[in-house]
Amino acid sequence: MRATASLIRREFIAYFTSPAGYVAAFGFLLLTGLLFNLNLGLLTEKGPLGVEYPMQVMLGGADSPILAQVAGVLFWGLFPAVTGMLTMRLLAEERGTGSIELLLTAPIRDWQIVFAKFYACFGFYIVLWLPTLLYLPVLADLHAQWKPAFTPFSIAMLVGFVLIVFGKIAFFRDWPGWLTIGLGLIGLTAAVAGGYFHYTQDPEHLVTFTAGIDPAPIWTSYLGVVLAGAMFLALGLFVSSLVESQLVAWMVSLLLGLVFVLPSLLRWWFEPGTVGYDVVYFLSVPEHFRRTFTRGQLDTLPIVLYVTVTLFCLFLTVRSLESRRLR
């Protein structure tokens, strides 16, 4: 467990200590910033123009205006490229430099290596998306009202948050495992339970949010982004375990990622309701976002696809490492 935590720490910090992580973050924020600006214009438009689902524009699913369509193509073209950038070095670099031998002979299981690598890059992927939460006040027309409603429940919630932060610090400072887990669990319990009772039992709340625009598409979209990201990252990790060159790993993972993107181009060709369209919808991640996630819906079809492909790719990655050990 300790070895896994160490490996996660090492891999996660590596993203922040190399320029590649920042380059990826810059490109990602530039792209999402442009999409947000497109949204901003539509949400403050004059006359009979606008956007019904702002997240559809953010995640490249809007058909109009034409600029949103172009931005959508750009977004989904770059999405597998960005996830490929995050995963290309994970195992390919180890293989290229030969450090994989050291890793394989270390007292750590193959699945733990794969888990740690995936966890770290998935964590960085989440971090990449965190700045986009700043867009929410506009995307949901969100307004917050603060009140000093300090009740036992609200205090428990706040203490819970603080304990979670300490747990994170404990994790990165390599404090004892029991302390890290203890702080995390107690903090999580206090935050969740305190938050629940504070918002259901207390007459006044520390902070009250009101959303002028339906917030459901926002959280469903973020859930979709998390799950789809996990799938693309797992795919990239598997590819990275097969090759030695990072460039080759990036290119192959980009190509494999496009298998889940390009079918969306065929949606114009098939009549909705036909088997052809259903197959296109099944495979096409942009179509999942255009039709369901960004419109406040959750469809079990893409969720099952993302989860199973993620697990399958992680399984294959473990097998890939095992096969190397067998040679």
Partner: protein, 850 residues
């Protein structure tokens, strides 16, 4: 340095060959598929039969090459895959360790699990709706009904954009209408997606009349659906068509999502938005579920063929109800005519007209018979005249060469005593010859007219239903039978179009018989609705002297009071005055009159529900951001009785005149001889308030200024005595006269009669105080909308009327100042990426420092 390359063996060579073969096959498959797609672009054409036929050269050499390339590629890939699979099995069963075999089996098992789980998910997935207003969730009962649709009879839904959003109301197009069109098309697709999840099959097609290949698309869609094509071609506005089993239902865009242009312009503090009023997914679903539904049938009851819905031939354009028929049939009704009087051809006076329940064809037949009789009479007269001229001609011929005295005697008779000299004889003979020719020509013309009339009559007689209908002499039975499958009766009584011109049709002409009124009463008792259009009843000489006819009595008993006066507008008083001055005698520039006012709720009465027809008309007006310009002259006041207004379901009086009007008992000026011997216009109508000592003062008959109600809608029970004759007022009166032995019975009857009237079946009734509100070959847009809303409400089709019961849809907007906007714009487009750059540079510098 050692060579790190693998050693080349026969095995590696074979593996290379197989993989090269497979890769080439894959390449050939892609090329072949591309070529094949260029020949067969539709996915439905991609069948093994098509590929086989193309390979045999049925579709030409190009398709043959494409099919062979595709087939060869697929076979190559298949062979390569089989070889790879076999070599994999050999490896497993050969020198691999048990561990590697178990790893391979585990991988295959995981792959199988992945495929199985996703295959199951593909066929059993569910969509969960978390939107705030559950916009992607159908009501359970609606979903249940849609599930019951048979999948083997698919419904084709055609979204037809003809860039005409408001039918006849306006053809103005702007950014609001085009925005609404786009959004409606999107929403229709969303709804159809929802329906598809329930199982039944739906095909959706979007047709745009401005698209390049519109006609080709239309031909393709309607190839086996002529009814659909006819519906599309006769559609007056952007519409959604539902087609299944050769039946078509139409839904206008506005019946699904109605544009509120007024609200759109006012939204966001005047900056504008697109505001659409949802009319309910149920409305949409109902068209799918009721695609086989019968169209409501409307019967137009008139007294003469000229007043029917037939398109006028020459004269009668003002009287026809053709515009009404066109508007109703276009919007989903069937219209039929019933002519309530006959014997027009032979009647010498109004009293000789007979009650009838004829179809228009029967009435036409009667007219044609009359025309034939007249033509026969004219032919006989012409023949007689020709015979006389023939005798004269013979006599003149006989006298040729005879002495002048004999000839002059004949000529004197022929010129009726005039003097004829011998010098004038050639002129007389020439004149006679002209008269002979003229008589011959008249006879020829009369014979032609008779032949034509006979031919027309023959045509009319060829319709067996018409002949059969004529055989029924029992008017009541016949009218009952005619109205059996009718859903709405319309009774137009055109009397006056313009008071300054005088009456057009005598009100008494429209009177119906007691037995006909009984049928209409029974119709209402069944809960069926009536739309009465009653023009003023004033005659040229003054107020009507006849009492109300049986129909008016029925309407009065339902709780509607019909005024006997005619409403005139102030502008018309000026016209009368100018006419007296001779400026407009015999016609001239028509006077302008103010528009009628639609009233949802009376002023100050907020506790009354809005009138549904007026509310719908208001929403319609808002959809084009204009007021409905409804104008009519020579109106009749129509009031709701106090006992109805005491317990209103909604505001009953919903159409009013403006205040610039008054009610006139003598609405027509008289042309009388003047003291100087000439004729002049007298009795010019002008407003003269009823004096205080006049008994009419304080009653509805008091001459006063407007506004006057001229449209009333009620929805309530029929009078008790309609269904129970013991409660008839005449019977109660008879019992009162009969004596005290009936006291108990009288008390019971009176109590029952007084204790409201909710004994009969509830039905709807609208009365307009205008006989020609919906007359003419084409209705004005405002008239058409009022008619449609009235007809839809009367027939219980409220789903076809604009509603604002659901929250309006509009694009979400975020309010912010210019500064906030700039901060958000630059902060997110430049600020956040710069933060990433800044942190990256800091980390790089920090690492260099270490």
């Amino acid at each position: 340095m050692t060579d790190t390359r693998q050693r080349t063996t026969w095995g590696t060579r074979f593996r290379f060959l197989v993989r090269a073969f497979g890769l080439t096959g894959l390449f050939a498959t892609v090329i072949g598929a591309g070529l094949f797609a260029s020949e067969f672009p539709s996915p439905s054409q991609w069948t093994t039969q098509t590929v086989q036929a193309a390979g045999e050269g049925t579709h030409g050499p190009f398709a043959k090459v494409a099919a062979w390339t595709l087939a060869a590629g697929v076979v190559s890939v298949a062979i390569a895959l089989v070889v790879e699979l076999l070599s994999g099995l050999l490896l497993i069963t050969g020198r691999r360790t048990a561990a590697s075999v178990s790893a391979t089996v585990g991988t295959l098992a995981a792959l199988a699990l992945l495929v199985f789980v996703n295959a199951y998910s593909f066929t059993h997935h569910r969509r969960l709706d978390f939107t705030r207003d559950h916009q992607f969730t159908l009501a359970p009962e609606l979903a249940e009904k849609l599930r019951s649709l048979r999948p083997e009879s698919p419904t084709t839904i055609v979204v037809h954009q003809m860039h005409q959003t408001f039918g006849s109301l306006t053809d103005e197009r702007d950014s609001y209408t085009s925005g609404a069109e786009r959004k409606v098309t999107e929403k229709v697709k969303d709804v159809v997606d929802l329906f598809r999840e329930l199982g039944p099959r739906f095909n959706i097609e979007v047709l745009d009349t401005e698209a390049f290949e519109y006609n080709r698309q239309l031909d393709a869609i309607t190839k086996d659906a002529p009814a659909l094509r006819q519906a599309i071609e006769s559609s007056p506005e952007n519409s959604i068509f539902f087609f299944a089993n050769d039946r078509v239902q139409r839904l206008a865009f506005n019946e699904f999502l109605q544009l509120d242009k007024t609200a759109s312009k006012e939204a966001n503090s005047g900056r504008g938005n697109l505001v659409l009023l949802p009319q309910g997914v149920e409305n949409f679903a109902r068209r799918v579920l009721a695609v086989q539904e019968r169209r409501p049938k409307v019967a137009v009851l008139v007294v003469h063929e000229l007043l029917t819905t037939a398109y006028p031939e020459g004269r009668g354009r003002a009287f026809t109800m053709a515009g009404l028929k066109k508007a109703l049939t276009t919007h989903g009704f069937d219209v039929t005519d019933v002519v309530l009087k006959k014997n027009w051809a032979s009647a010498g006076s109004l009293e000789e007209l007979k009650p009838a329940a004829d179809t228009r064809e029967e009435s036409t037949l009667e007219r044609l018979e009359g025309a034939l009789a007249t033509a026969a009479d004219e032919t006989a007269a012409a023949r007689e005249q020709a015979e006389i001229f023939g005798q004269i001609r013979t006599r003149v011929e006989e006298l040729k060469g005879r002495p002048w005295a004999e000839r002059s005697a004949l000529y004197a008779r022929l010129v009726r005593g005039g003097t004829v000299t011998e010098e004038l004889e050639p002129e007389v003979l020439a004149s006679l010859q002209r008269q002979f020719n003229r008589a011959d020509q008249i006879l020829i013309d009369a014979r032609k007219a008779q032949a034509s009339a006979e031919a027309k009559l023959r045509d009319a007689l060829s319709d067996e239903r018409t002949i059969e209908g004529r055989r029924i002499t029992d008017v009541k039975a016949k009218l009952t039978r005619v109205l059996a499958d009718v859903d709405l009766i319309v009774i137009p009584r055109f009397t006056v179009e313009d008071a300054t011109e005088g009456p057009d049709v005598a009100a008494s002409l429209h009177g119906i018989s007691k037995e006909q009124a009984d049928v209409i009463r029974d119709f209402m008792l069944k809960g069926k609705p009536v739309l009465a259009l009653l023009g003023p009843i004033s005659s040229r000489t003054g107020p009507a002297t006849d009492g109300p006819d049986p129909l008016e009595k029925l309407i009065t008993e339902r709780g509607i009071v019909l005024g006997n006066e005619t409403i005139l507008f102030d502008g018309e008083a000026a016209a009368f005055a100018s006419r007296r001055a001779g400026e407009q005698f015999g016609g001239g520039v028509p006077t302008d009159i103010p528009p009628l006012v639609l009233v949802e709720t009376p002023d100050g009465k907020t506790d009354i529900k809005p009138n549904p027809v007026a509310a719908a008309a208001r929403l319609t007006a808002r959809s084009v951001d204009q007021k409905l310009d409804l104008r009519a002259r020579a109106l009749r006041p129509v009031y709701v009785a106090p006992w109805v207004s005491a317990e209103p379901r909604f505001a009953a009086e919903f159409v009013q005149t403006g205040p610039d009007a008054w009610n006139e008992v003598r609405p027509f000026p008289q042309v009388r001889p003047l003291p100087d011997g000439t004729f002049g216009v007298t009795d010019i109508p002008r407003f003269e308030p009823t004096p205080l000592d006049d008994p009419r003062k304080g009653t509805l008959e008091e001459e006063r200024r407007g506004p006057f109600p001229i449209g009333v809608a009620i929805d309530g029970p029929s009078p008790a005595h309609w269904s129970d004759d013991r409660l008839a007022p005449t019977r109660i009166a008879a019992m009162l006269v009969a004596g005290p032995q009936f006291q108990k019975l009288i008390a019971g009857a009176l109590a029952s009669a007084q204790s409201n009237r909710p004994k009969g079946t509830s039905s709807r009734l609208i009365v307009f105080g205008s006989g020609n509100l919906f007359s003419g070959p084409k209705l004005e847009p405002a008239q058409e909308k009022l008619l449609l809303h009235s007809a839809n409400w009367l027939t219980g089709r409220e789903d076809r009327m604009p509603q604002a019961s659901q929250a309006a849809w509009q694009f979400p907007r975020v309010e912010m100042t210019e500064r906030e906007f700039s901060l958000w714009r630059y902060g997110t487009a430049i600020g956040l990426p710069l933060v990433a750059v800044y942190l990256g540079l800091m980390v790089t510098m920090f690492r260099r420092l270490r």
